[in-house]
Amino acid sequence: MSTNNKVLEVKDLKTYFFTDAGVVKAVDGISFDLKFGETLGIVGETGSGKSVTALSILRLIPHPHGRIVAGKIIFDNKDILKLNLKTLQSYRGNRISMIFQDPMTSLNPVYTIGNQIIESLVIHQKLDKKSAVKEALKLLEMVGIAEAKRRLSSYPHEFSGGMRQRVMIAMAIANAPDILIADEPTTALDVTIQAQILELINELKYKTNSSIILITHDLGVVAKYARRVIVMYAGKMVEFSTVDNIYYKPMHPYTMGLMNSITRLDKSKKEKLKPIEGSPPSLIDLPEGCTFKSRCIYGKEKCSRRFPPLIEVEKEHFVACFRVKEIRKEGIKQAVE
């Protein structure tokens, strides 16, 4: 671990997809760092580039259309983007692992649960079969699957969605990774199970000494588990700060809009939810300037010239908006004028 406590550093990451219709700038210049033991949330709506960011970290961008065109991902003092395939494979699932969105389709239907957990142990720890079985048993118990021994020889279709996600988690933590990327781990599950799964991930974080990148569109989830949050919009970071800042004093108009559009127990009942008007722009031909401009109530002509840089407005609070000073100073109402 480097002295500055950073497990992972992403610098100006750009991942584009080259389609017949044009270049999709799914991730366009993202920079952030993950601190040791921290849970970092990435929120944004569908298509904002959250998942692509996650996949880029493991270099799992689908060929041949997708490509990481620029940036650095520093892990263990090395740039992941420059690793050879073999080293990369030795990192995947071992030092950095990932939990996928849909547990129903993320397990191979022809192998037993035990077989699949054992695979990740065998690949990285070179365990022999017997100790791998033992280890798999332990892992299944750790993720809270009852009768683990019998369950080892069950097939994925015999499991419910929540149980499959537990299995996925067991596979992800099998090698006690430094970083666990959870890509919308609860989206496909129902609400009661969601809470259990998130609680489990959070618990295991301490057991395995991992840092977590939690990707979600559920602002409630982020509030509970993350320490810092990145808000993404159309492939760019618009705000990056601690959970408290994001929730109680958001400064980017988009984040403010998000906060106004969710129900909150700490707001009075009389306040109505305010949706953000319009819909996100197509990533293929993004407008010049700020991508949020067309939906922004504070927009000025300056905003159409270029995308505002992400600046640190206060400690640990980064905002990408030209009008952040006015918004901050004058309060919301005056700024609208």
């Binding site: 030795s90 995947r92 699932g93 996928f100 239907p109 022809v110 019998r150 097939y155």
Partner: protein, 306 residues
């Protein structure tokens, strides 16, 4: 005992059985177990399987089953009609047709299995290359496959045999080389659909190598249609071998081969029909067996019929 209790007891029996076999279970797959269960219910398929097993046994134990030497000529016994002594009669040279049909199964089975085996190996390799790595290799391999599809099967086989000359090894090569294209195409298709499944991405995220992903994760999922097509194709290969032998460029006399026996009998249909009937029947039954089995396998592997 109440029925619920009974069910409960049965279930606990099943579950305890599962407990014991912890190690062995890992290698078995539910897809194939399910398929076998469904296959067993399909009567026609079981008839096919019966025929195929019987044929294999006959081929292996031909020397024990056949009452006479299939090659030895007995002049005095030329063109005898079927009798107790010669079940299927004798041919022009006085050879026992029953024994020849029995021995002929060896050629047919071996040609069917080996030739299709060659097709499968080439097809899987090239299909995997095309499907998994895509782009240039895909385009190239599939265009070559198209060229092979453009050739009529028999014509292609005749052409290759003419170049290589007759003989059983050359039959393997001819039929094997001609058959790979369909396997490659089928396998490529399965791989294309499977490689984008999330569990493949998940395996990659776990650090599995390309090699491992193809062998362990894609193959078992993509293999079912190959088994089906291979089974049916054995029937086709047997017919092609019979046709080649019939045309005189396949298995050479005096080795007993069904196709050759047919062509030898051609001039004597009106006076000695048994010379044609029995080898013909043997071909029909054999091919029918493989096709029925293949058909049953196709249904068994189709999850929609669950």
């Amino acid at each position: 005992m109440y029925p619920e209790e009974k069910v409960e007891q049965e279930r606990s029996k099943v579950e305890s059985a599962k407990d014991i076999d912890l190690e062995g279970k890992y290698t078995r797959s539910s897809l194939y177990k399910d398929a076998w269960r469904r296959l067993k219910k399909n009567k026609l398929a079981m008839v096919g399987l019966g025929i195929v097993i019987m044929l294999i046994l006959i081929a292996i134990f031909a020397n024990l089953i056949a009452p006479y030497d299939p090659i030895e000529r007995v002049k005095e016994e030329s063109s005898l009609s079927p009798s107790r002594l010669h079940l299927f009669g004798t041919d022009l040279l006085g050879r026992d047709i029953f024994s020849r049909v029995i021995y002929g199964s060896r050629i047919s089975i071996v040609v069917g299995v080996v030739a299709v085996g060659i097709s499968v190996v080439i097809g899987l390799f090239l299909g995997a290359l095309a499907g998994y790595f895509g782009s240039a290799s895909d385009a190239l391999i599939m265009r070559i496959a198209d060229i092979f599809f453009a050739f009529p099967y028999i014509l292609g086989a005749i052409a290759i045999m003419t170049v290589l000359g007759p003989g059983i090894v050359n039959i393997f090569i001819a039929i094997g080389i001609l058959g790979w294209a369909s396997f490659a195409r089928i396998f490529r298709g399965s791989i294309l659909s499977i490689k984008n499944k999330e569990y493949i991405e998940a395996a990659r995220a776990l650090g599995a190598s390309n090699h491992r992903i193809i062998i362990r994760h894609i193959f078992p999922n993509a293999f079912a249609p190959i088994i089906v097509y291979a089974t049916m194709n054995i029937g086709t290969a047997i017919i092609v071998e019979a046709a080649l032998s019939f045309l005189g460029i396949g298995v050479q006399p005096p080795t007993p081969a069904w196709g050759k026996m047919l062509s030898e009998s051609l001039d004597y249909i009106d006076i000695a029909p048994w010379m044609m009937l029995f080898p013909g029947l043997a071909i029909v039954i054999t091919v029918l067996g493989f096709v029925l089995l293949g058909d049953g396998l196709r249904d068994a592997f189709d999850p929609r019929l669950k």
